[in-house]
Amino acid sequence: MAKEQRKERKQGNRELAEFISQFRQSKAGMLGLVLITMFVLLSVYVVVAYPYEEVVKWNDVREWSDNPPTAPPFWAKVFSGKSLPETQVLNGSIARRYNVEGIYFEDRVLDLQYSYDEPPSEIIVDIGSTFQGSAPLIELSWIKPSGSTIMVFRTAAERSIEGPPYSYSHELYIYIDQEVKSNMANYLLSKYGVHVPVSSISVANVLFGKESPSVANASSIDVEKGIYQLKVHIQAYDPKDAITGFSAVVKGKVWGWMGTDIWGRDLLIGILWGTPVALLIGALTSVLSVGIGMAVGVISGFYEGRTGEVLERITDFFYMLPVLPLLIFVSFILRPSVWVMIPLLSLFGWPGIAKTARSITLQVKQETYVEAARALGASNLWILVRHIAPQTLPFSFANIALNVPGYIFTEASISFLGLGDPILPTWGKILGDAQASGATIGGYWWWVLIPGVMIFLVAISFALLGNALDRIVTPRLRRRA
């Protein structure tokens, strides 16, 4: 009758149902499960939203040259109390052309609305022009809200190899360009009569600070707030000569949701991408190592003769290997990708589970009901599958969850030293970069805190899940609370 069939299936599931209901009662376990689910969903999102090509760009420093380096996240303002500038890109200036007695002039102006408490970390100006014959003169000037005008840069365009028409383009890093610096010195000299050594001049101070004789090398300044203007002026000798491009990147001091590292890389991308990598490595390695460990442990416990002895020796051998040094050594030679790292890690991880699986098997093997099954005519295989495996399986699930944090830590250690996957960003690698770049002593807290918190969250979610599973699986006699 269908009723009996349904009943049997329900019976078979009764143990499962009991297990699930017990698990639901564990608040910690449920929390862990929820967190893990969130991370999995995040990983899916990340892989879709930032496809692999984006990730490869992560390693190319040139991609990030427009970003301010070591910039905290934009929300850091909340903690520091000061309003820190964000990066702005200025373009779209309008040309004003006129000519006087055969000399052709063109002006372009970029407006910068600025109300932050600190000057930007750098200003990069791109100027381009085209000309037919004689090189035009180009002058860049800076107009502050207070009205002061500072001449920043002056040059004659250089001819390109091909032409006419010749083209000229220049990318000017205002803060570090030596000529700009000496122009600043000249400005101060003419306005206040002070001689300031060029090497000690902070261009940012002069451009943004409230004017005073000592502003050039002051340790901190009051920023003039208002609208600044960057003006380029070209003096050319042919009506067709013109400015072809004029834009500026005003690099802020904060960037993005998670800040930048020393190369200006948006840490958000790195950290987000670390999620699927960490989950992948942690979960796959754990499953693999528990699988191997279970198999070896059960077989070695069941076939106690020479097979068992040999397997036990092998287990002991791997158990006693110092994991991290050997792993570092091998990684140093192989520079493993994620897919090589996973079996490598599990190679060191399986002995622990094998030992426990073996002792469980040894114990179950002695149970009377196993002997009863043998008396019924059961073969070794039957006993293994029907009586021993069900005892070890629930324990193995608990173990899979509990082992994940360890593997994530180990992989993070390897990446920290720069020996991990060469392309994919992992949290360990980011932290390793932080350490090497002196983030801890330089105070770049976001670079240290955020990737570490991610590691912590993933680790603790698996720990909670694993602990909950373990409590359900371990016989109640062994637990008091």
Partner: protein, 355 residues
């Protein structure tokens, strides 16, 4: 079999393991040609220098010069023993390593200027032991004390808070906590040195020197203890609760012993073997994980030497360090087995599982 017999057997097995590990290390390094590649380039450099130093050789025509170079390099190879294929050299390397002769480092030098790898390691090993053994001991002591408190009132508020703390602290890598501590204490608050083993320049007077080292030890120790004591407390608490369920505790209580006596005289004694085991295992484990932590704290110990060797690709040091780590691991396991044999009489008689 008797205890001595068991011990002998285990020693043999463990020594065999050690040799196998060493062999594997050498084979892997050699098999990938690293050893040879590195040595070859070293030879080339030497020969180049020799040739440049000798003005006669510089004047020779191209073909002649190459021939002389080749001859010189062959001589050098023979001197180091590179003329034979790698397989044949393995026993020599193995024997050297086992007799603690690790040869010379390629780039790294010890503080005294020696390039002998043995000296390098001898210099750094005590520092690692100092830091991590102290850390493990402090964690254990603090953890045991707290675990006792937790076991007194299971499921009480203190127990729950400590358990939560244990889970949290176990989920943080030690080296990351170290980085955070340096940020907070070293950079922001500036109360402790952000790293290093001694100040630069180091004080010369012995007492001041020792104090300086201790001063530098504080930050790493805080990190080690913070991360470990929670786990210790929880483990001790669980062990104690398990022991409490045993009949002999019931007897002690029925006899009218005070709770203190029950706790300290009976329960704690019963949990001593697993605690000692855990202590040894944690020392061993921490040394393995010391590598990254020492880099973070800039602590000039075994771990940092290893990281430096990796960074500089100083292969002899890498091999030697891997071997020393393995040796320490195996040695501790052997001590553990001896202790277990002493503490647990069942092991002594070699009683098999068949009851």
């Amino acid at each position: 079999m008797s205890f001595l017999g068991y011990l002998a057997k285990r020693t043999v097995v463990l020594t065999a393991t050690l040799i196998l590990v060493l062999l594997a290390t050498i084979m892997v390094a050699g098999g990938f040609g690293i050893v040879d590649r590195v040595a070859e380039s070293a030879i080339r450099q030497e020969v180049n220098m020799m040739m440049r130093a000798n003005p006669n050789l510089a004047r020779l025509p191209e073909a002649e010069r190459l021939k002389v170079m080749e001859t010189l390099m062959e001589e050098q190879r023979k001197a180091i023993g590179l003329d034979k294929p790698f397989i044949e050299r393995v026993p020599k390397y193995l024997f050297q390593a086992l007799s603690w002769d690790f040869g010379k480092a390629l780039y790294l030098r010890s503080a005294s200027g020696s390039s002998l790898v043995r000296d390098l390691i001898a210099e750094v090993l005590p520092r690692t032991i100092l830091l991590f053994t102290t850390g493990a001991l402090i964690s254990a002591i603090v953890g045991i004390a707290l675990g006792l408190l937790m076991a007194r009132r299971p499921l009480g508020l203190f127990d729950k808070i400590m358990t939560a703390f244990a889970v949290v602290s176990n989920s943080m890598p030690l080296w990351w906590v170290g980085m955070l501590l340096i940020l907070v204490l070293g950079f922001t608050l500036k109360v402790l040195p952000p790293g290093g083993y001694v100040s630069v320049p180091a004080p010369t007077e012995p007492v001041a020197y020792v104090l300086d080292v201790l001063h530098h030890m504080i930050l790493p120790l805080i990190a080690v203890v913070l991360v470990s004591f929670g786990g210790w407390a929880y483990t001790v608490r669980s062990l104690l609760l398990d022991t409490f369920q045993q009949d002999f505790i019931l007897v002690a209580r029925a006899k009218g012993l005070s709770e203190n006596d029950v706790m300290y005289k009976h329960a704690l004694r019963a949990t001593a073997p697993p605690i000692i085991t855990l202590l040894l295992l944690s020392i061993v484990g921490s040394m393995g994980g010391a590598i990254i932590s020492e880099v973070v704290f800039n602590w000039a110990g075994m771990g940092r030497l290893f990281a430096d060797a990796v960074a500089f690709q100083d292969v002899p040091v890498i091999i030697a360090e891997t071997y020393v780590f393995s040796f320490l691991y195996v040695a501790v396991f052997l001590v553990l087995e001896v202790l277990y044999g002493l503490l647990d009489p069942r092991v002594r008689t070699g009683a098999s599982v068949q009851g």
